[in-house]
């Protein structure tokens, strides 16, 4: 009996030991998974990382700006040389102006688009929540309209609109030049203020829908001087190559 009892005790001990081992391993494993996962569960860390990235991004953009300025200086220095070089530099500056690589200023407008603070009420159930927010297509229509009205430079929240600019909704944010932004959107445009405002306020035009939902979503100001920053994104072409005609050499 005593031997039997001992055997029972041993088995009992062994099983509880194994249970303990399993529990401990499971516990450890779960803890590891929780900490190894993407830091979605660790918002403070994520926020810190975000701020850090943003700061380094800003620093890099500042560096780009400085380098571009340096290029300008070098080009000017080069231009002060021969007559030929001067002509070359002039056409270079024009090309850069068209490409949006220079900071520019001039008369224009400031258009502010923001999400409505109104919410769909019971009286107008046909108005969907989508109507109360600014979307990529609103911005696209505005940009298109401004260009059509002769705007010479356009920026959205400090992002210069250039020939390669994309404007696209991704969830609750809009990407312009691959930079995330959200309401309010400040659109700056240089051009004849009267023409620009007229184009935007055309009946049934780009802003008509927004205004009909909530007039407060749209604000237009005419300005004597608008400063529009240079494009600070990449200017590298990865796929397109210029075609050289016979006898002509591309730089």
């Amino acid at each position: 009996m005593s031997e039997n009892k001992l055997k029972q005790m041993t088995v009992f001990f062994a099983i509880w030991l194994v249970v303990g081992l399993l529990l401990g391993m499971a516990f450890k494993e779960q803890t590891r998974i929780r900490t190894a996962e993407l830091p979605s569960a660790r918002l403070p860390d994520l926020a810190r990382a975000y701020v850090q990235e943003k700061r380094s991004n800003a620093a890099l953009e500042e560096e780009i700006r400085q380098l571009r300025q340096r290029i300008n200086e070098l080009e000017n220095a080069f231009a002060s040389g021969t007559k030929q070089a001067q002509v070359l530099n002039q056409s270079l500056q024009e090309a850069k102006m068209i490409a949006g690589l220079l900071e520019v200023e001039g008369p224009g407008i400031e258009l502010t688009l923001q999400d409505s603070k109104k919410r769909p009420s019971g009286e107008s159930p046909e108005l969907l929540p989508e109507l109360y927010t600014i979307h990529d297509y609103d911005l696209l229509r505005v940009v298109n309209e401004l260009r059509q009205a002769g705007a010479e430079a356009i920026s959205i929240n400090g992002q210069r609109i250039v020939s390669t600019t994309g404007i696209r909704c991704t969830g609750p944010v809009v990407f312009v030049n691959d930079v995330k932004m959200a309401s309010p959107f400040v659109v700056l445009a240089i051009g004849d203020p009267k023409t620009l405002v007229g184009a935007l306020e055309m009946p049934g035009g780009a802003l008509a829908d927004l205004k009909s939902v909530d007039p407060k979503m749209v604000q237009i100001r005419r300005l004597d001087t608008v400063r529009i920053p240079a494009y600070s994104g990449s200017t590298q072409f990865r796929y397109a190559r210029p075609i050289t005609t016979e006898g002509e050499q591309t730089p």
């Binding site: 055997k7 029972q8 005790m9 088995v11 009992f12 001990f13 062994a14 099983i15 509880w16 030991l17 194994v18 249970v19 303990g20 081992l21 399993l22 529990l23 401990g24 391993m25 499971a26 516990f27 450890k28 494993e29 779960q30 998974i33």
Partner: protein, 119 residues
Amino acid sequence: MIAVGFVGLLLGVVIASLLLDIPLPEEWAAYLSLAALAGLDTAFGGWRAALEGRFHPDVFVSGFIVNALLAAMLAYLGDRIGVDLFLAAVVTLGGRMFLNLSLIRRYYLNQLALRRQRG
């Protein structure tokens, strides 16, 4: 006997969390947890059986192994066919643990009452 069990449990947890470092694939983590749950259930069952004086080591050990394997297998199968079968194991094992625990509690309360009557 119960004390022996608890020492074992404590020792197991300590060993697993401090000494053992077996890197397991993440997909296994769920099965491991379930196996641990099944083990815990069997251990509670053994405790109850011991109190009732009908503890059989062979039943105990085989129950432990089979339950743990079945629970893990159910979870695996459920993953494969898109049904949360592991819930079946969780509900069954969880329910039985509560049942066993209540019987264990009653046993000790009875003992206490008996001792009071005598004393």
